[in-house]
Subunit: 387 residues, 2 copies
């Protein structure tokens, strides 16, 4: 199975890059202070806004998604600011850690890994803040470490008219599950290139509400690289404050064209089918899922390894036998779960193939399952959905 | 002349990317926590060290070169630290500004734009610091805004055994002009991908001496994305703290192979010929150069536009007529100079062609020069050098 270059890459990012996008990136360099780039940055910024469902300003950084998380902290949270960080896993913790590192007084509300945040808990905590000392609420859209999606709309409603900025890490969720930046009144939304945008890692996005823009003007945190005031000033003239990652811009233009053609809501519906077929297939194999159906992510599915069989052994075998790459568990979930990414440039058939490989590997490892049951179940879901 | 995709791109970055490097970047994604990436990061880190002429640690960030400048500040300079910033242009000013933004007490020594820093001035200033309060000396190797190269070796010697960290911005100079990180005892050296490394923008490099590593352990500046302690911890296991810019890593591997084959000292010699032929050619056209021969950069050449003829008019015409892209002047040098980049993947013949185009454009714009004189002079230089 390993004779070809492409693997079955089913990670929650980096996701497989379509070959036309790869090709588009092989274009020669241009002057990043010239007319072609001016056109390019205007076009892709508008395209990204459509995915975000926003008319807010969008800034693109040459960085990993974590860079946009740092930008969301240093532009909008000043040292000493009280921040409510809602965490349901590794990336919620990371956001809280970055805020702490940059001087915020962080109060973290943790929910058990594998569960979603309860909006009622946040509503109560916000109601207690009569002096309105909380300056920002930081929350994860899709928690990549567990495969759980938070109900951002309800959490936003729970914060209500409290003046805290509402900051969302949507790195692995945007473009895979519905996120209404404007309708839901989200102040700052972070994302990255290597997930639903289907391009290689190296671009990070930030959508910024007018209210957040005002906060950034007076934010006292130190910043140069991540300074959105500078980025927006340059954006007006079709430039960036320092050299942009040109090849990734070429790729982004191509990928956005594909996304535009398919339509963002169709893309989201497609990802929901991924979720349903993978979950049904894995369940039919008799395996347990980490997340409940009600909060299950459309970007990835976390599966608990069968009793006595390490998750990483399954992963290794999938790689060796079938060149299938899936993710392991992180931190306390290491070797406990494996994570099947189904995000971006993935086909239904790819997922059927991976379910089939998983079945074969499990049988080989001595798990008592019936070959084909998981695959058949997933096929049935596809037939039901009429895809 | 504009029928083909590639321009004559003679900028001091982004520089033209070789087609084999572009092709190498069109590879599918891989798991950035898997065995292939572990091998890849080890290989390119070693390759970058050879260009740096160092055995020090090297860290690669998914960022523009400016990101590595910020990393050089937040890891090694604490708020309140006294910093001596040596500036000979826009990028020297930028480094000073970043240090200031992050709380350093910056004393800037400015030299006139177009000149190099005088090591004696720095020696005197350092000698006055009897209490050894200066924690870092920050200096530019090649100043991209003027086309002047600083004598880093002499400036380092001028600092002598003063304990200040010696931090160098070598973004546009490394790989084009000699820089001996270890022999010259440079503590932190910053560079970027889109210059002599011949790959697109989006990777930034930092070489760090053992002494600087110790300073970083106790540095009180806030940092997460740029934290080299975290980067080095992950590097040990063949990973990065957050998703690396994979495609650019593929490109870097390919480009480093090319550089290894040619040999770093041959590359440097080639760039010196670029400098000599362009300067001789431009002088033979009767134009004036901004920088003196003794301090002239091998990465780019700054040319003063003829009296009464704006530099940007010449640039526009070069673009329209011949698809030749050269850089303009920055800030107070805007419209006063134009800058011919000759860095990285450039051929001698490319530069002859551009000199020819420049002559034709100047004649068309009414400048009284003799067609062919500049080109011929440059040819003579090539013949003399035996290339």
């Amino acid at each position: 199975m390993n004779f070809r270059e492409e693997q079955y890459l089913l990670l929650p990012g980096p996701t497989p890059v379509p070959t036309n996008v790869l090709r588009s990136m092989a274009k020669p360099m241009i002057n990043h202070r010239g007319p072609e780039f001016k056109e390019l940055i205007a076009e892709v910024t508008e395209g990204v806004k459509k995915v975000y469902k926003t008319k807010n300003e969008v800034v693109i950084f040459p960085a990993a998604g974590t860079g946009a998380m740092e930008a969301a902290v240093v532009n909008f949270i000043s040292p000493g600011d009280k921040v409510l960080a809602v965490s349901i896993g590794v990336f919620g913790d990371r956001f809280a850690k970055i805020a702490e590192e940059f001087g915020a007084e962080v109060e973290k509300i943790d929910f058990p890994w594998g569960q979603a945040a309860d909006p009622e808990v946040i509503r109560e905590r916000i109601a207690q803040d009569r002096l309105r000392e909380i300056k920002a609420v930081v929350v994860t859209h899709n928690e990549t470490s567990t495969g759980v999606v938070n109900d951002i709309k309800s959490i936003r409603e729970a914060v209500g008219d409290h003046p805290a900025l509402f900051i969302v890490d949507a790195v692995s969720g945007l473009g895979a599950m519905n996120l209404e930046t404007d309708k839901w009144n989200l102040d700052v939304v972070v994302s990255g290139s290597q997930k639903a945008f289907m391009i290689p890692p190296g671009l990070a996005f930030l959508a910024i509400s007018p209210r957040a823009l005002r906060v950034a003007k007076n934010c006292s945190n130190r910043r140069y690289y991540w300074d959105i005031n500078s980025a927006l000033k340059y954006l007006e003239k079709g430039q960036t404050p320092y050299t942009p990652a040109l090849s990734l811009f070429y790729g982004l233009r191509e990928a956005l064209e594909m996304m535009e053609k398919e339509g963002i809501d169709n893309i989201i519906a497609r990802h929901a089918v991924y979720r349903d077929m993978v979950r049904a297939g894995v369940k039919a194999m008799g395996l347990k899922l980490l997340a409940d159906d009600r909060v299950a992510s459309s970007s990835l599915t976390s599966v608990i390894a069968p009793e006595g069989l390490g998750a990483n052994r399954i992963r290794r075998r999938l790689l060796e036998r079938f060149n299938v790459v899936i993710a392991g568990g992180q931190q306390k979930l290491d070797d406990v779960i494996f994570r099947i990414g189904h995000l971006g440039n993935v086909l239904y058939l790819d997922l059927l193939a991976v379910l089939a490989a998983l079945e074969m590997v499990l049988v080989e490892l001595g798990v008592d399952i019936e070959l084909g049951r998981g695959v058949t179940k997933a096929q049935e879901i596809l037939m039901q959905k009429g895809v």
